[in-house]
Amino acid sequence: GDQVEQSPSALSLHEGTGSALRCNFTTTMRAVQWFRKNSRGSLINLFYLASGTKENGRLKSAFDSKERYSTLHIRDAQLEDSGTYFCAALTGGYKVVFGSGTRLLVSP
């Protein structure tokens, strides 16, 4: 069935540095969404992409449906960026398949 492989599962960054999260899809997805889970457990919308790239502040996301992957880049990481990040792939129907999450810890 449709699957999403998210990596890395955990990531440690020092303040001011950056890195990238990646989701690979086993099938062609029509769109991808990125979320961050906040301290209250809410899933906060970061990006929704049907194609191409989007940028918002220190975050940038890309989605290539043909190559079956999406990335989330974080630059100049701050302490408040710590949390768990999820990608979610929207299939051709009404299904949404989530990645397993990336636990990000930003330290001073």
Binding site: Q33, R40, S42, Y48, Y94, V96, F98, S100
Partner: protein, 112 residues
């Protein structure tokens, strides 16, 4: 901050009891969902309603049933809970099926 509201936040109950979770969205969306977050933190879809019509019903046990009075509400009832039902249940909404999802805070169920 959020326009998808779930109640309760937590619920502890015993095996065999019936529980009901409520979800309301104030975004004017026409599609609502229930997801279950498993022990590995994966979110798996359970049900989806579009304009009060059930459009997805994953292979969940029959003791689970969605209930929708209008497109702004989608409740989840579990008729006779089992220990494996302990999980976080997340409600979400979207406008159509091609747009982004907005999630509630989740309801954590513990079955003793």
């Amino acid at each position: 901050e959020t326009a998808v509201f779930q109640t309760p936040n937590y619920h502890v109950t015993q095996v065999g009891n019936e529980v009901s979770f409520n979800c309301k969205q104030t975004l004017g969306h026409d599609t609502m969902y229930w997801y279950k977050q498993d022990s590995k933190k994966l979110l798996k879809i359970m049900f989806s309603y579009n304009n009060k019509q059930l459009i997805v019903n994953e292979t969940v046990p029959r003791r689970f049933s969605p209930q929708s009075s209008d497109k702004a509400h989608l409740n989840l009832r579990i008729k006779s809970v089992e220990p494996e039902d302990s999980a976080v249940y997340l409600c979400a909404s979207s406008q159509g099926t091609n747009e982004r999802l907005f999630f509630g805070h989740g309801t954590k169920l513990s079955v003793l």
